[in-house]
Amino acid sequence: MTQVKEKERKLTIARAMAEAIAQEMRTDDKVFVMGEDIGELGGVFGNTRGLHEEFGGERVRDTPISETAFIGAAVGAASDGMKPVVELMFVDFFGVCFDAIYNMMAKNTYFSGGNVTVPMVLMTSTGGGYSDGGQHSQCVHATFAHLPGMKVVAPSNAYDAKGMMIAAIRDPNPVVFMFHKALQGMGWLGTEKEAIVHVPEAAYEVELGKAIVTRPGTDVTIVGITSGVHFGLKAARILGEQGVSAEVVDLRSLAPLDRDTVIESVKKTGRLIVVDEDYHSYGMTAEIIASVVEAGVPLKAAPQRVAYPDIPIPFARPMEQWALPSPEKIIAAFNKMKED
């Protein structure tokens, strides 16, 4: 029997997201898309490209610049039988519409004792590194993941982006789908090539709330999400050249959080570094470290975190690049652990 190798079909995260949405729209007429510039333009970050052409303006609906209205409307439509996919263009803009998100989208199911469902996806771009200033570069992972009632996911590559978007649309609960701009595959803001991977054409789901070991290793566990995974992989390669075997865990979901995968990894390695482009304090990094410590995992060194300093994101390129997590900072964190 000869095995036919599947032809490589590399997609950007942007294209993978658009393909996932299109496939769900073809099979489920309850699915529709709403947001700013997601129609003919195809989304500022390309993740709705082609949808308007295929499905028209009724189901791929440009909105006024009114996030409170259209996210609130998505809550109402979702509870009335529809499955809206709405876009908050930059996650930084949550300030104008958070009531609709955390006080309604995330709470109505609970407030109704489970009698009202809110099956919607809120997709939103995160991250910086391209000098867009402090109102267009944040991740605010923890701000969302802290609040109960919504799933919060963030893929680091196109394969996961497609499978997690399909899972998110099919989920009866509200899902916040964060995509990092530097991984998105938009040439005009530079892109992480390793996020562009093989994506099967047929629809598939990647289970939400499941982390994955992206690179196996034995000496140290590096946990990250979106950009943090890629910083971690680069650091792992450099460490590998130095004879250190680093395991990289991609959380993929912030809520529900797959603590088990992280704990299993640290049980093996005994060392933990957590990488996050979100702010340092009260963030995902602290949550991961606390979870490992609470589980009583024996540690060979104090866990380290590599996160964004507690400052608004600066504009100047040298300042911003200095503040971002990086492979070098991860290696420095590892070296610090060796000294312990």
Partner: protein, 328 residues
């Protein structure tokens, strides 16, 4: 659009149920809260916003609606819920926080959800409007019948959500009606002190929709104007903004000293309490007799008593059930 005799009687009966319900809640709310008022005590803890005086806004609108129509309401939701047909026993139990409540006690008085009659509300000012616009959009997209009605207070018309949602409803010409209950007070701040124009209904022109102001807290006048708006929405004629002059006969919440009210205001409002006014009108028009009225009063009390008793007799859910229903 004039209400039939039956519709007028329906409105009156639901006003009675609503008022008696609030009076019962008011009384029970104070259990355990004297001599020292502590909101956390008693069989109904937490904030309590009573709707006494605002019943015409509920019945004049909901008389046009069926269970399939969508209503989103506010932090002051009981009268609207009752007129929309929310299960009174399950609502009372929810207000008590009992397992038999609409949500098993997870929501409480500001978070009443009854999907059987498409009723919901939010404790956040101005956040009733977005979901109503979305429900209306959903009906259009699914080619399903039904309109959406968003209730809000006059204070909520100064929220950004109001502007955003009405504009979007206007752009998309959705079957949604925005009903402002203008009780002239946002807690302690008067409409005059908070709103740049006299009537929020005048704002409708900004959103490309008709705007109507209804004076007099009169169920029949409300029925008339709202009926036109709902018929227009059902026929694809788009949204309408309606502001109803009403009166808050209670404080903003139970425990409100109401020192901000001008002297004599409350007494003056009580003289035009819409329930006796409606009763006199129905009597004058020969629609209601003393005997019928007595029967309706008795019937309303019986419904309320039954609901309250059900709530009192029901058990609390086990505390750890709090962990359930976050996701489905």
């Amino acid at each position: 659009m004039k209400p039939s005799q039956e519709q007028q009687v329906w409105m009156y009966r639901h006003m009675l149920v609503s008022r008696f319900f609030e009076e019962a809640i008011e009384k029970i709310y104070m259990e355990g809260k004297t001599p020292a008022f502590n909101m956390a005590n008693g069989p109904i803890p937490g904030e309590m916003h009573l709707s006494n005086g605002q019943e015409p806004c509920a019945v004049g609108v909901c008389a046009h609606l069926t269970a399939e129509d969508v209503v989103t309401s506010t932090h002051r939701p009981h009268h609207v819920a009752i007129a929309k047909g929310v299960d009174l026993k399950a609502m009372a139990a929810e207000i008590f926080g009992k397992k038999t409540g609409l949500s098993g006690g997870r929501g409480g008085h500001m978070h009443i959800f009854d999907p059987k009659v498409n009723f919901s509300c939010s404790g956040i000012i101005g956040q009733s409007v977005g979901p109503a616009v979305g429900a209306a959009l959903s009906r259009v997209m699914q080619k399903k019948s039904g309109v959406a009605v968003a209730y809000l207070g006059e204070g909520a018309a100064n929220q950004g959500a109001f502007h955003e949602a009405l504009n979007m409803a206007g752009v998309w010409q959705l079957p949604v009606i925005f009903v402002i209950e203008d009780n002239s007070w946002g807690i302690s701040v008067s409409k005059r002190a908070s709103t740049a124009i006299e009537r929020n209904s005048d704002r409708a022109v900004s959103y490309g929709m008709p705007g109507e102001f209804i004076e007099g807290n009169d169920p029949v006048a409300i029925f008339d104007v709202v009926g036109e708006a709902i018929a227009r929405a059902r026929n694809g004629g788009g949204p309408t903004l309606i502001e109803i002059e009403t009166s808050r006969l209670a404080g903003h919440f139970m425990g409100d000293g109401e020192a901000y009210r001008p002297a004599g205001e409350k007494e003056a409002l009580q003289k035009i309490d819409p329930i006796p006014v409606m009763k006199q009108r129905l009597m004058a028009e020969g629609i209601l007799t003393d005997a019928a009225d007595a029967a309706f009063v008795e019937e309303a009390h019986a419904l309320v008593d039954e609901a309250i008793q059900f709530a009192r007799d029901s058990e609390y859910a086990a505390p750890e059930e709090a962990m359930e229903k976050v996701f489905v």
